[in-house]
Structures are given as structure tokens and as C-alpha cells.
């Protein structure tokens, strides 16, 4: 029963995510593209929740579906008086070719590889790791990944200062 629900949830989320992403790159209306982007982000958040990454699912909703989407929508509206259609560049056939080649290479290597897999239903000691992921990730960030954590803070500060100085009125 639970398995059937998980299968159904995975396939519907995967279809929503891929269709949303495809709509983003195909539509010519930037505002519509931003809204489809939100659909795709929410689908990815659902997939995170399905694979025991509840913390990331919430962060995905807050940062992407919340913050990034609002930023993109604002930018799309600010620049919408610039009347230019979002048509394709001359590189489009090349882009199709490269993406399809990369896709087939990735799918081929995923199918060919011999994975050393954990079982779908985790044994007892391992299942405990995935019960309280926010606390465990917090401990990891402040212990094993402390230096990257600090660098990420500096990066965000630099991004804020850079963005402010770029859009400042001269």
C-alpha cells in the first residue's frame, strides 16, 4: 500500500517537474516561464521529501519557490517594457544536439554502472540516521563542514554587496 503510494507520488512529481522545466525553456513569455519555474521547483521539493530529505524539501520551498521565484518575477516585470521576444539564438540546433548527446551518455552510464545500493527499506541502525535529518545536517555543517559553511557565509555577503553596487544609481 505504502509502496504503491510512493510509486504514484514519484511518477506524478517527476512528470510535473519535467513538464514544468520543459515549459520554462520553451515558452516565450518570461512571466509565464517564472511561474512554470515555481511548478518545477515544487515538484523537486516533493521528490526530496520522498527520499528522506525533509530538511532539503523545506529549504527548497523557502529558497527556490519563495526567494528565487520572487526575484525572477520582479526582474521579469522590471524588464518587461523592453519589448523583445524570447526567441532562440542561432545556436539552437547545436544546443539540441549537445543536450541529447549528454542525456544519452548520462542515461547509458547510469544504467551500466554497478551500484552498491542500500535497500529500499533501511535496516534499523541506518534508518535512525534518516529520522531526524535537520539536526544531523546541522551537526555536520558545524563540525565536519565548518570551513565550507563559513565560506558560504562570506560568499553570500559578497553577493549582496556585489548586487547592491551593480544596481546602484550613478
Amino acid at each position: 500500500m505504502e509502496n504503491a503510494f510512493k510509486e504514484f507520488a514519484f511518477w506524478s512529481l517527476a512528470v510535473v517537474t519535467v513538464l514544468g522545466a520543459f515549459g520554462v525553456v520553451r515558452t516565450h513569455n518570461m512571466f509565464r516561464a517564472a511561474l512554470l519555474l515555481v511548478v518545477s521547483f515544487v515538484g523537486v521539493a516533493g521528490i526530496f521529501a520522498l527520499v528522506n530529505a525533509e530538511f532539503l524539501a523545506v529549504v527548497q520551498l523557502l529558497v527556490y519557490a519563495g526567494g528565487v521565484a520572487v526575484l525572477v518575477i520582479f526582474a521579469a516585470m522590471i524588464t518587461s517594457n523592453v519589448t523583445e521576444s524570447n526567441s532562440s539564438t542561432r545556436a539552437q540546433p547545436f544546443a539540441v544536439l549537445v543536450s541529447l548527446l549528454l542525456l544519452s551518455a548520462l542515461v547509458f552510464s547510469v544504467v551500466q554502472a554497478e551500484w552498491s545500493l542500500l535497500p529500499d527499506v533501511l535496516p534499523e541502525p541506518l534508518a535512525a540516521v534518516f529520522v531526524d535529518t535537520p539536526a544531523a545536517i546541522g551537526r555536520l555543517l558545524l563540525d565536519q563542514f565548518l570551513l565550507p559553511f563559513e565560506i558560504a557565509g562570506v560568499l553570500l555577503l559578497a553577493a549582496v554587496i556585489g548586487a547592491l553596487s551593480l544596481v546602484r544609481e550613478r
Binding site: 519535467v18 518545477s40 526575484l71 543536450s99 541506518l126 551593480l166
Partner: protein, 115 residues
């Protein structure tokens, strides 16, 4: 389960790549890159949940090291999200600066540094 998650991630990545290479609107290119970031996060989370860490395989039982490596993929995804947020903030600032100076959102016209 791992295979289908990775294939989903590959499809998303290639859609993003196609958009980033072929669109003319700067914001469209930016959000295509965001889709690629998302695809990488899906792959990282899938690896974190389904691939047995080497430390676990060697020890045969749960050690503190194995426990932390089980969630390393999810921690990496947190960093990817941070970098993506910084990227989109800077990118949209660049878009607004570009609209101010060139009154255009066409990437093929952003050629100030080309000789």
C-alpha cells in the same frame, strides 16, 4: 529507485542545458541555470539515500563516520542551494544593469568585452 532518480536528474540537467545554450532572453538563461542546479541537487540527495558509503561497506556496521557520510550528500545540496541563491541575486543585478546601459535583454547583444 536510484536509477530512476538519476535519470530524472539527467533529464532536468539536459533541459536546463538546452535552455541555457539556446535562449536569447538573459533571464531565461539564468533560470535555465537554476534548473541545472536543481538537477544536481536531486542527484546528490539520491546518492545520499541509496549509495552505500565506503566507510560503511568496510566496517560492516554503523560507525560514527558512516553515519556522517550518509548525510554528506544532503549537506552538499545545502551548499549548492546557497551558491545558487547568490548566483541568482548577482545575475539579476547584472540583468538590471544591462537593461540600464544597453536597454536590451538579448544575450547576443552583451558584447562589450568582445573585440
Amino acid at each position: 529507485m536510484l536509477e530512476r532518480l538519476l535519470i530524472l536528474s539527467a533529464i532536468l540537467f539536459c533541459i536546463g542545458l538546452y535552455g541555457a545554450l539556446s535562449r536569447r532572453h538573459v533571464i531565461a538563461v539564468l533560470i535555465s541555470v537554476e534548473i541545472m542546479f536543481n538537477a544536481v541537487n536531486v542527484a546528490l540527495v539520491a546518492f545520499s539515500r541509496y549509495v552505500t558509503p565506503a566507510a560503511l561497506r568496510a566496517a560492516g556496521e554503523v560507525t560514527p563516520i558512516a553515519e556522517s557520510t550518509l548525510l554528506a550528500g544532503q549537506s552538499f545540496a545545502v551548499f549548492v542551494i546557497v551558491v545558487a541563491a547568490a548566483e541568482v541575486a548577482l545575475g539579476l543585478a547584472l540583468v538590471i544593469a544591462m537593461v540600464r546601459t544597453k536597454d536590451s535583454v538579448d544575450v547576443t547583444e552583451a558584447s562589450l568585452m568582445r573585440r
